[in-house]
Amino acid sequence: MSLPLIVFLFFALLAVAGAVMVILAREPIHSALALVLVMVALAVLYLLLGAEFIAAVQIIVYAGAIMVLFVFVIMLLNMGLEERTNFSKFAYVGLVAAFALLLEAAHWMFHSSVGAGVANGSQPVTAFSTVELSKLLFRSYLLPFEATSILILIAILGALVLARKEE
């Protein structure tokens, strides 16, 4: 029971608990806060995997901006409680099938050799350096980078036009 394993289990359980809370919460604001908890737990897992820059970007952009937008909209629109619907009994069959699929996926994952070097410590675990990541981002992936900047511009204009009050 090494320290990385304990930290992983704690934050993995936190993430799953947050995801379950998203489904089970009756008020939308509680779902939003549970989703923020999931994102923060995932940021810690990224830190455990050595991706420091991605962890920070996840908190700044995802948990600190996108979810703030969700929370704003929930507050402004003042919607009521989540309504319970009566879904069909067929869903339970689907639940059994999903659980069987998950067991099969887990079996194949645990018997695969992906990342075997990392798991038993024969590969050195060094953090991903931000300098190398930025070199890759601005040299090999420059075209997608510029394309996403135009995408953001389009999204800003679209959101402005859509949400404008009709005069």
Partner: protein, 101 residues
Amino acid sequence: MTVPISYYLLLSAVLFGLGVVAFVFKRNVITVFMSVELMLNAVNLAFVAFARAYNKFDGLVDVFFVIVVAAAEAAVGLAIVIMLRRNRESLNVERVDLLKF
């Protein structure tokens, strides 16, 4: 001993599954949006786990782009939700199923 990569992939699969369940079963448009964000986060975790497994940076670059695209999509989607609320007065997905009356 460090954590095996398969643990991270299993967690990613579980989170993705929970996101699909939330997407199918929830009735509020905003909560459905949040389940899409949950699915995207699960996929990001899988990307980073594979980046660590093969020790390459390409996974991290993909995560960066997924986060940016999710931000753009959230902005436009929430603008649509605000318009929906203004015009239809209800945010229940079962009631906004006609284009025009």
